[in-house]
Each structure stands twice: as structure tokens, then as C-alpha cells.
């Protein structure tokens, strides 16, 4: 077990290193941020002065070393655009992203799981078809389209909800639904397939043969087991929701990490993009590491095989 954990931690550190290197190189491929912080037509001297200020005139390897070192010292540098410490920006936005992700996740589970169960129980029926349509739309409609459609209906036409911003529950509803729909669709699909698999299993057949009421068979015996993969997926999705709600947060001017990333990319704010991606990536690597370790604890075959 000890060797297994050490190996997994090693893989995680390697993943983190590769992630940091990739994002470091990728942001620099996109171009020079100095040219975006001056008006078109600014003199070369002005551009050079900004490049010097940001340390972009240093050799690449020096810049990478400073970037890696910053993670160990906890000082991730200053945003080129905001000129304030990147970590301050990150932690200012994190609570908003956590709130949005939590509500969107709750919506996605409340909608996705019951409809998935219903679709599995009534395979080929109306609810199954309705569920398929819901899934199809949720997975295929781009979130900016859903967001703008909601604004058109609930803000412009009905005047019920504010178009953007944060602060009240009314501000949260449209972005949470827009973000949650996609994941509700994913949760619904998984619940449906998982339920169908469980409903076809021997122990469910036995429960039915014993004459248990159908509600008890579904609710107690099938549903509990079918829920395990959905909850695992939901856990990973929650991390994803926190970090990738870029479009939703931009459409609704929701001040979360996704918008910070969008601003970072827009202004080629390297420290912001690097920090958001590496912290987001670290969360996913950490969750995967914990899941790996938990699986190994639960199932000895996993650690023996590896």
C-alpha cells in the first residue's frame, strides 16, 4: 500500500510539473501582453518598458524558474492587468465560484437524478423520451446561448430577474441553471444507464421474485447502488464547475474564477492564467489522487495489480 501511494503521489507530481510547463509555454505562444496594454501604434520604447516591468525580457528558462519558485514561496506574482497579487484576486473570486458551483450542482442533481431514475423505470416511454430530449439539449446547446436566452426571457421580457451581477439569490438563479443544465444532462444519462444496469441484475430480479413492492425494489435496492457512479462523477464535476464556468460567468458578469481566467486570457495576463490553471489542475490531480487511494483501500485488487 505504501509503495502504491508513493507511486501515485509521484505520478501526481509529474502531472503537475507537465501541467505547469504546458501552461507556461502555451500562454507565451499566444503573444506579447505588452502590446495589449498600450494603444495600437504605441512606440517601441513604451512596449519595451512594459516588457521589462513584467520580466518578459528575461530568457525563457529564467521566467520558468521564477514561475516554479513562486509556487514554493507562495508569492505567485502580480497580475499584469490588475497590478495586484494574483493570489488576492484568486481568493476574492473563489467564494463566488464555490457558491455558483454548489447551487448549479444542487440543481443538476435535483433535476438529473430523479429524471434519470424515471427514464430508466419507464424505458421507451414518454418520460424516457422527454429525458433524452432534455439531455440532448443540455449537452448540445452552448451555454452562452442558454444564458442569453434566459436573459431575454426573464430579464428583458418578464423583468423578473436581474441580467447580471451578484449579491442576491435572484442573481444566482440564471447562471446556476445555465451551468447546471449541462451537468444535469450528464447526471441524468449516467443515472439512467446505471439504473438500467442495476435493474437488470440478479439481486433485483430476486427482490422482485420475493414479491417486494416495485417502489421498494427501485428506491431501496436499485437506486442506492446505481447512485455510486453518479456521486463519483458529481464530485469530479464539482471541481470542474468551480474552474471552468468561463462562459457562464462572462455572460452573467458573475465575478468568479472562470471570469478571472477569461480576463487573464483576454489581456494575456500570464500570472493570472498560470495561477488559475495550475490551481484548478492541482484540484483535479488531488481529487484523482484521493479517489485512487480510496479505491485501493476499498478494493485490494487495485493496489495488488499496480
Amino acid at each position: 500500500m505504501k509503495h502504491y501511494i508513493i507511486r501515485r503521489v509521484g505520478y501526481s507530481l509529474l502531472s503537475l510539473f507537465l501541467l505547469s510547463l504546458t501552461i507556461f509555454l502555451f500562454v507565451r505562444v499566444t503573444g506579447d501582453p505588452a502590446s495589449l496594454l498600450v494603444e495600437p501604434g504605441a512606440s517601441q520604447a513604451d512596449i519595451d518598458s512594459l516588457r521589462h516591468q513584467f520580466g518578459l525580457d528575461e530568457p525563457m528558462w529564467v521566467q520558468y524558474w521564477l514561475f516554479v519558485r513562486s509556487f514554493f514561496t507562495g508569492d505567485l506574482g502580480q497580475s499584469f492587468y490588475y497590478r495586484v497579487p494574483v493570489l488576492d484576486l484568486y481568493f476574492e473570486r473563489l467564494p463566488n465560484s464555490l457558491l455558483l458551483a454548489a447551487v448549479a450542482m444542487a440543481m443538476s442533481l435535483v433535476i438529473g437524478i430523479p429524471s434519470g431514475v424515471l427514464a430508466a423505470v419507464r424505458v421507451g416511454g414518454f418520460w424516457d423520451s422527454a429525458g433524452k430530449l432534455f439531455t440532448l439539449l443540455g449537452l448540445s446547446l452552448p451555454s452562452f446561448f442558454i444564458g442569453l436566452l434566459l436573459i431575454l426571457i426573464f430579464t428583458v421580457t418578464l423583468g423578473w430577474l436581474p441580467s447580471s451581477g451578484s449579491g442576491t439569490i435572484a442573481h444566482l438563479l440564471m447562471p446556476a441553471f445555465t451551468l447546471g443544465w449541462y451537468f444535469a444532462a450528464a447526471h441524468m444519462r449516467l443515472t439512467r444507464s446505471s439504473m438500467l444496469e442495476v435493474l437488470g441484475s440478479e439481486y433485483v430480479k430476486l427482490a422482485r421474485l420475493k414479491g417486494l413492492p416495485e417502489a421498494l425494489v427501485i428506491g431501496k435496492h436499485a437506486f442506492k447502488n446505481a447512485l455510486i457512479p453518479v456521486i463519483t462523477l458529481a464530485g469530479i464535476n464539482l471541481v470542474v464547475m468551480i474552474n471552468v464556468a468561463v462562459v457562464v460567468e462572462t455572460v452573467f458578469a458573475w465575478p468568479g474564477i472562470g471570469r478571472l481566467l477569461y480576463e487573464g486570457v483576454t489581456f494575456r495576463d500570464f500570472p493570472v492564467v498560470q495561477t488559475v490553471v495550475v490551481i484548478g489542475g492541482s484540484m483535479i490531480i488531488l481529487v484523482n489522487l484521493l479517489v485512487d487511494i480510496l479505491y485501493a483501500l476499498i478494493d485490494p485488487r487495485i493496489r495488488l495489480e499496480s
Binding site: 499566444t30 503573444g31 506579447d32 501582453p33 502590446s35 495589449l36 496594454l37 498600450v38 494603444e39 495600437p40 501604434g41 504605441a42 512606440s43 517601441q44 520604447a45 513604451d46 512596449i47 518598458s49 512594459l50 492587468y81 490588475y82 497590478r83 495586484v84 484576486l89 476574492e92 473570486r93 452562452f144 442569453l148 436573459i151 431575454l152 426573464f154 430579464t155 428583458v156 421580457t157 418578464l158 423583468g159 423578473w160 430577474l161 436581474p162 441580467s163 447580471s164 451581477g165 451578484s166 442576491t168 439569490i169 435572484a170 442573481h171 438563479l173 441553471f177 462572462t250 455572460v251 452573467f252 458578469a253 465575478p255 471570469r259 478571472l260 477569461y262 480576463e263 494575456r268
Partner: protein, 521 residues
């Protein structure tokens, strides 16, 4: 619960509506959201960019116009562009240049105060200049030998050599002339200053939530006049359609940057007013290969054909509802020393004749047309007109940073759709785009270089104006460039707004001066 019908009158929701929305759990909310713009004495802006705390500090003003959106509220400058003048006396009551051009003396306005009640003094002016580390800092400090403060209200800027553009840079092209309180900054430090800035402008800082909103409150002791609107709120709404929705619903009073079809929609919406502001950003086509005798662009007739082949007005109508003026120049019309050229002509027949005279009776394959991809809609329109005249080009849109890097490194060829929003005056623009060695000049004409060199040493404004006019005239007559338009920035306001401040200051994209902004009675 009410909604508006097509006729605008409120009607009850149908049962189907209620059922559909109940399913989404929205009706259960049972409340209308508070309207931000409802409070008396408050105006709310929907801004298109994220506001950066660095913009609260004039010392860090970069080379873009956006920070001036906030500087005009929070701070004040010795001399700055105002509705009546490009260089209006503000914290400086007056100024004068020494006859030898080697020094400028400013008199600080009596009674001007910072938000903490302390008077603005000569020491603050000196401190603010020395502290300035924005885009033009190196160049300004290289040319200024010393800043002297013989008394509390007198400041002398001593130059190393006569510099006719000193006032241009001090008043509008940098943040060096925007004054911060020396004692307060020294006491709290730079970082704390950005968190709780104090200035001498018409509005005081109240709160800032990064990425969300910024709140200012009126400073009643502002020297020019007390502001009439009590509170200003700037909300960041990056998505254009959301800004328009917020304006339509009355969540905000003024919205920046509403373009294209949304602007058309806005114009049709009752109660909303479209306000176009012409910024200091002309667009043009540059003939990068005109100095190569083998290139078709070497022939002035071919360059002229491009100029007359484009229907500038139609492009402006289609893309900016006709608000982008056809100035026919690469120099913004609000710039000092601007020479007004004859109006642009659209004459496709003449374009073909010129091409035929140059030996291209059937037109020609003219190669690449480079542009900043965010303005590829302008390029598409231009290319269509060129195509009609027989000038067949391929559009090469490049991402903005790559485009300007390629442009300044002189890597682009053939035709370049350029633009500039940089600060300065006609001389600074010529230096960058038309004079030998200019950052964006792919070649030079000795006549322009000579006129430019003469004006650089000329302290007499009238003579300098004449030299710069002649240089611009040369560019026009020799079709060094084919100007397209001067870009208009489309904004809008709702019905509560009396004076929006939009367009009061020429070339300024945002509301200003804020003390002139009013709410309708």
C-alpha cells in the same frame, strides 16, 4: 406579477407561463429584484472592461485610454482635455513657457483641495511628476532636467532642451500631470493608496469590488463646481448583449460599447438613446511596398485607385450606423496641428481608369491584406470594394498582438489595415507612421522627414503648425496612405439620464467631465 405586452402595457401571465416557470422553480422566488438605477441621486454605468485598481493611481497610467474613465472622476490634472479645450487649465490656474522654451511655469489653483481636505500644493505637483512611472515616464524624465517649487503655488519644469510637445504629454498623453496628495501617499504607501485612493477630482472613492463594481461619491468641495449626481456606480458587464439587457431593464443608466446589430436594436428601443463618441483612432490602409519599384503600389495611380474605390460612408453606415466620420486622414481630427484634407471621394469608375492608366486594365491580383482580426469586418467591407474595382486581395486577419508585433517589426507586406489610438498630437503620429525610422514606417519620403525635423526645433506655434500641415498635405497628395475612417465608439443611456457626459470631450470615449453629468428632473 406583470409583464409587458407588445404594446408596452402590462398584462397578467398566462397559466401556461406560470406552469412552465414553476417547473424551473423561479416563480417560487416571488420577488422583483431591486433596480440599481432606482435610487435618487445615483447613476449606474455598465462598463465593458474589468476595472483595475491600478487605474486609481495616475502614476501607473499605461498607454491606453481606459484608465481615464476613472481618473476623470477620482483625480484632477494640472491641465487636461475638457469640453471647451484640448488643454484646459484645471489644478493649474495658468502656465507660461519661457521665451527660450527651456522651462514651463505653472501656478497651482487657489482653493483646490484633495478629498481629505488638504490643499493641492506645488509639492504635490512635483511629487506626482516624480512618482509617475507610466508608459511615457522614461521619455518625460529624460527630457525634464528639474522640477522646482519656489513657493506653495508655483512649479517650474526645467527642460534639458526645448521640447514643443512637453505640454501635450503633460496634459493628455500621460498621467504625469494628474496630482496625488504627497503626504497621504507617503503615509500609506503605494499599495494602500490603490486600496483607498484620495484625489482632487469631483468624486471620492467609496468602495471597489474587483470584477463587480466600483462606487464613487460626490466631493462637494471640488473647485470647478459641486457634482450634481451624488453617487456613481460602475458595474462590470463584459458581455455586450447583457449590457444592453441591463440598460433596457433599467438596471443601469449608461452602457458602454454596444455595436453592430445590437446598436441597431438599441436605436429602435423606446427610452434608450444611442450616443456615439468619435475616438482618436483613425483607420487606414498602408501600402507597405510602395518604396519597392517592382511593386504595383509603387505607382501612385494604383494607390489613388484604392482610395477612390472604397465607399467609406457606406462602410461607416453598415458597421457603425454612420457614426464613424470619414476624416480622410491618418491623424485624428481632434489632434493639435491636424490638417483637414479634402473630403474622401468614392468613384469606382475613376478607380478603374487609374488602374488602366497604370497598366492594369483587367485589374490585378494584389496579394495579401493584413488586419487586426478584431476589425476583420472593416477589412471584409474594404476588400469587397477593392474587388469591384479589380484589385483582388486576400484577407490575412491576425490576432491583435501578433498583428501589431508584425506591423511594428515590419514583417507584413503589401497592404496593411492599420489604426492607432495612441495619445499625442499630429507630430507624434507622424513620427510613428510617416517619418524615417518611425516605429510603423516601412519607408520614408525625404520631404516629410525634412518638414518633421524643422518642426521639432520650432517653438513658434504658427510656424510649427504650417510645417506639420505641409507634411500631412504631402501624405495626402502622394497617397502614402488610404484612410478609411475615424472610429466611433457606440454607447447608450437610459431615460433617467439628463447629461451623460458622452462626447463632451473630443476624442474621449467615456462620460466626462463627471461633474457635468446630470439626472433628469
Amino acid at each position: 406579477m406583470l409583464r409587458k405586452t407588445e404594446s408596452g402595457s402590462p398584462s397578467r401571465l398566462s397559466r401556461r407561463d406560470v406552469m412552465a416557470l414553476s417547473a424551473l422553480g423561479i416563480v417560487a422566488l416571488g420577488q422583483r429584484t431591486a433596480m440599481a438605477a432606482g435610487a435618487d441621486g445615483q447613476l449606474t454605468w455598465a462598463v465593458h472592461v474589468s476595472l483595475a485598481p491600478t487605474w486609481f493611481d495616475p502614476a501607473e497610467t499605461p498607454g491606453i485610454i481606459t484608465p481615464f474613465m476613472l481618473l476623470y472622476a477620482l483625480h484632477d490634472a494640472m491641465v487636461k482635455p475638457m469640453p471647451d479645450k484640448a488643454a484646459a487649465p484645471c489644478l493649474a490656474e495658468s502656465w507660461k513657457m519661457a521665451p527660450d522654451g527651456l522651462s514651463y511655469q505653472f501656478t497651482v489653483r487657489a482653493g483646490a483641495k484633495f478629498h481629505n481636505g488638504e490643499p493641492v500644493t506645488a509639492e504635490d505637483v512635483k511629487f506626482s511628476f516624480e512618482r509617475y512611472r507610466g508608459t511615457s515616464a522614461a521619455m518625460m524624465k529624460e527630457r525634464v532636467k528639474a522640477v522646482e517649487t519656489p513657493d506653495a503655488r508655483t512649479v517650474n519644469f526645467v527642460l534639458k532642451e526645448p521640447w514643443p510637445d512637453f505640454l501635450t504629454f503633460y496634459s493628455s498623453a500621460s498621467g504625469a500631470g494628474w496630482i496625488v496628495p504627497k503626504k497621504y501617499v507617503e503615509k500609506v504607501g503605494d499599495e494602500a493608496f490603490k486600496k483607498a485612493p484620495i484625489g482632487a477630482g469631483p468624486y471620492k472613492f467609496v468602495s471597489f469590488t474587483p470584477g463587480v463594481e466600483l462606487v464613487f461619491e460626490a466631493f462637494d468641495d471640488y473647485w470647478r463646481k459641486p457634482p450634481t449626481v451624488k453617487r456613481l456606480v460602475f458595474k462590470v458587464i463584459p458581455e455586450e448583449a447583457t449590457r444592453l439587457a441591463a440598460l433596457t431593464r433599467g438596471e443601469v443608466d449608461i452602457a458602454y460599447s454596444i455595436r453592430g446589430e445590437l446598436a441597431e436594436q438599441l436605436r429602435k428601443t423606446p427610452g434608450l438613446t444611442l450616443k456615439a463618441v468619435v475616438i482618436q483612432g483613425p483607420y487606414w490602409i498602408y501600402f507597405a511596398d510602395q518604396w519597392d519599384p517592382k511593386s504595383p503600389w509603387h505607382d501612385q495611380r494604383v494607390r489613388e485607385a484604392v482610395r477612390v474605390a472604397i465607399d467609406h460612408k457606406a462602410i461607416s453606415e453598415a458597421l457603425t450606423l454612420g457614426f464613424s466620420p470619414i476624416t480622410n486622414s491618418i491623424i485624428p481630427e481632434n489632434f493639435e496641428f491636424f490638417w483637414k484634407p479634402p473630403p474622401a471621394v468614392y468613384d469606382p469608375k475613376k478607380a478603374k481608369e487609374l488602374l488602366a492608366a497604370a497598366g492594369f486594365r483587367s485589374g490585378f491580383d494584389a496579394g495579401d491584406y493584413y488586419c487586426d482580426s478584431s476589425y476583420s469586418n472593416v477589412a471584409e467591407a474594404v476588400i469587397n470594394y477593392l474587388q469591384e474595382a479589380g484589385i483582388r486581395v486576400k484577407m490575412r486577419p491576425l490576432e491583435r498582438a501578433a498583428f501589431y508585433a508584425g506591423y511594428s517589426q515590419k514583417k507584413l507586406k503589401n497592404l496593411i489595415q492599420g489604426a492607432s489610438g495612441a495619445f499625442g498630437n499630429a507630430a507624434t503620429r507622424l513620427a510613428a507612421f510617416a517619418v524615417k525610422g518611425g516605429a510603423y514606417a516601412y519607408g520614408n519620403y525625404p520631404e516629410i522627414d525634412e518638414l518633421y525635423a524643422k518642426q521639432e526645433a520650432e517653438l513658434d506655434v504658427a510656424k510649427r503648425t504650417e510645417l506639420l500641415h505641409r507634411a500631412q498635405q504631402y501624405i495626402h497628395e502622394h497617397s502614402v496612405y488610404a484612410p478609411i475612417w475615424q472610429l466611433a465608439f457606440l454607447n447608450a443611456h437610459g431615460k433617467r439620464v439628463g447629461e451623460s457626459g458622452l462626447g463632451l470631450i473630443k476624442g474621449h470615449a467615456y462620460s466626462a467631465p463627471y461633474e457635468d453629468v446630470t439626472i433628469k428632473k
